[in-house]
């Protein structure tokens, strides 16, 4: 009898064109290649230099999200994109997709959005698929039981030309989560707590599988938030076994299999969860019931504490001291009640409808504190449309927040949405690296409800105090 296999092993094995040997890596077949404007131009150029075509254009989908503006006037109103080089990148993606026959959900397309939001939303992200994109947060798609990981631009060219990648088989890490999350504690807090414990390199060389009844109880959008930040623990991919939550999410999505084809797909998807007795290279256990709302205080996502906690002592670690100096924080000080300048709700981590609903629930009937700039940036145009159908945009606008077109926005400072030097931003995004949201910007990562509550008070606020 074949040895029991994990979810990862099943997906990996099903995509081996040839297995790895001592001399050569495995040739791994890629089912879905997502493309965006920032990491693809040099890949298309490489194809052009070598006289190569795109092998399977029907397995690729392009959109634009990273360097695109979120101001309506620049997206739909005929105003030019403010950053010239970004405008060139957008035009180049349009030209490349036209030349190589790749479908593009372009600037004004109703289905455009952050690449990791639209894949699941369209039903393109499916259990058992291999999915890559020139973006480290491709780990997001693993929430549906896909093996999904970020690649560099040279690898983007490899997939375009051959639909394959050369890969060494990674090790497996089971993150087992048990117990019930407390009220006011979200999937974002859960993954921040996991990263805090594993460390930002704890998952290096591994694919994480999140397991246990806490994970099973998460809805699909919460699972996407968890898998999204796998890379912040150093793991290229994070996966969750598909179940009824997954199947219900995918049913009738426009690019998921329909009707009898869906039933047929279900038969295959139900076989994907790991076999009883399957072994992982490492296992780590978490108790969800002890997790508090979490917030970062430093310059990487592993520098994270419960919101009621205080900044740790650094014990003479120079890098730690430098991080705190950058953040303008001192060891021992409480993070709660610290004044903030900017609040950002958005990104591939937390810009789906449920994130916007939970933030709006906090803001309804309230107003952001004087002097606070608050941006709410939906993860896709479809999320924007649904949020507007529910009137969420009115809640944000009446509270004094800005309501934008979809895109990566303030998650990374390359599209005009920036946090000023020295300013504190409480952000629902995924990285608090130095300068990530703008040169000198100081980022505090947290959940949408923590961000919204902090906007109301103008200070870091435990969301449970505002319910």
């Amino acid at each position: 009898m074949a040895h029991p296999q994990t979810l990862f092993e099943k997906v990996w094995n099903a995509h081996e064109v040839s297995p790895e040997s001592a001399a050569t890596p495995a040739v791994l077949y890629i089912d879905l290649h997502l493309i965006h404007e920032v990491t693809s131009p040099q890949a298309f150029a490489l194809l052009r230099e070598r006289g190569l075509a795109v092998r399977r254009p029907e397995r690729a989908l392009a959109t634009m999200d990273h360097s695109t503006p979120t101001l309506t006037a620049q997206v739909f109103g005929g105003a030019p994109i403010a950053i010239d080089s970004a405008a060139r990148q957008v035009r180049e993606l349009e030209a490349n997709c036209a030349e190589f026959g790749v479908e593009l959900l372009g600037m004004r397309h109703a289905q455009r959005g952050i690449v990791h939001v639209i894949g699941p939303e369209l039903g393109l992200t499916q259990p058992g698929k291999t999915i890559v994109c020139g973006d480290s947060h491709t780990s997001t798609h693993g929430a549906l039981g896909a093996l999904a990981f970020g690649i560099g631009t040279t690898e983007v060219a490899h997939v375009l030309a051959t639909q394959c990648l050369l890969q060494r088989k990674p090790r497996t890490l089971a993150v087992n989560v048990h117990g019930t999350l407390r009220a006011g504690v979200t999937a974002k807090d859960l993954i921040l707590a996991i990263i805090g414990r594993l460390g930002i390199a704890g998952g290096t060389g591994h694919v994480i599988e999140y397991r246990g009844e806490t994970i099973r109880a998460l809805d699909m959008e919460e699972r996407l938030t968890v898998c999204n930040m796998s890379i912040e623990a150093g793991a290229r991919a994070g996966m969750i076994a598909p179940d009824e939550t997954t199947f219900a999410y995918l049913a009738r999505r426009p690019r998921a299999p329909q009707g009898a084809a869906f039933e047929h797909a279900l038969d295959a998807w139900r076989k994907l969860p790991g076999d009883g007795g399957a072994r992982f290279d490492r296992e780590v256990d978490f108790d969800a019931a002890t997790i508090e709302p979490m917030i970062t205080y430093g310059t990487n996502p592993g520098m994270v504490i419960p919101i009621g906690g205080s900044v740790p002592e650094h014990g003479g670690d120079a890098a730690f001291a430098q991080a705190l100096a950058y953040m303008g924080l001192t060891p021992g000080e409480a993070i709660k009640d610290r004044p903030v300048n900017v609040v950002f709700i958005g990104s591939c981590t937390n810009a789906r409808l449920s994130d916007l609903r939970s933030a709006a629930a906090v803001l309804r009937g309230r107003h952001v504190a004087p002097g606070i700039t608050m941006l709410v940036v939906p993860g896709s145009q479809e999320v924007k449309r649904q949020a507007e159908a529910e009137g969420l945009h009115q809640v944000f606008l009446e509270a004094g927040a800005q309501w934008r077109e979809s895109g990566c926005s303030m998650c990374l400072g390359m599209n005009g949405d920036l946090v000023g030097a020295g300013q504190y931003a409480i952000s629902t995004s995924n990285r608090n690296f130095e300068g990530r949201q703008g040169k000198g910007a100081r980022t505090l990562l947290a959940s949408p409800v923590t961000a919204a509550a902090s906007a109301v008070r103008g200070r870091v606020t435990d969301p449970r105090e505002l319910t």
Binding site: T39, I151, T154, T162, T204, I231, G234
Partner: protein, 190 residues
């Protein structure tokens, strides 16, 4: 790619751990559509002051580091974003190898595809290198060794296929294209 057999150079040291790719090349420089010219923006926010002048206290700006093509750093170099602009910027600046106790997965993969050698060494070797900036060391790809000024050689791991590609200056794309028949067979039998 040029074949990469051995490299002898003095080191330049950035002792910080967890240097992420946003530090190596900040996102605002990613709106380029070419691979070239990124070296001037390498470590831009650490290298230049608010007026755009080089900061004298930053290692890569110090006199005597010109021509140093081996960068020694703290653990977990290259974490974060998958941007291949990070190895492009390092190479454009003149760095041809990075030495650390741990190198992030995607950065390592991207580095190898561009002939930038990722060298992972033990804690003691790393600590010595960090404590002795400017050390004259030699990297030997075929042997997989880093030779210290004392003459002591330390082994570093290098996957066989990556070693082959570096030594012969070949890239992976050629190998993948040569597997077209196997790829077609896979597609036809799914």
């Amino acid at each position: 790619m040029e074949p990469f057999t051995t490299l002898r150079s003095r080191t330049v040291v950035l002792p910080a751990a967890n240097i992420d790719t946003d530090q190596i090349i900040p996102a605002r420089f990613l709106t380029t559509t070419t691979r070239t010219g990124l070296g001037k923006n390498l470590f831009a926010d650490w290298r230049y002051d608010a007026s755009g002048m080089p900061r004298a206290d930053f290692a890569l700006n110090r006199a005597g580091t010109q021509g140093c093509s081996i960068l020694v750093t703290g653990r977990n170099f290259g974490c974060g974003s998958s941007r291949e602009h990070a190895p492009w910027a390092l190479l454009d600046f003149g760095v041809r190898a990075v030495v650390s106790t741990q190198i992030a997965d995607i950065f390592r993969s991207n580095a190898l595809k561009n002939g930038l050698l990722p060298v992972v060494v033990d804690e003691a070797t790393s600590a010595w290198l960090i404590g002795n900036p400017g050390a004259d060391i030699t990297l030997d790809v075929a042997a997989g060794t880093l030779t210290l000024p004392s003459g002591a050689a330390v082994e570093f791991p290098l996957e066989a296929f990556a070693r082959h590609c570096l030594l012969h200056g070949v890239d992976e794309l050629g190998y993948l294209l040569s597997r077209a028949e196997a790829i077609s067979a896979f597609e036809n039998h799914r």
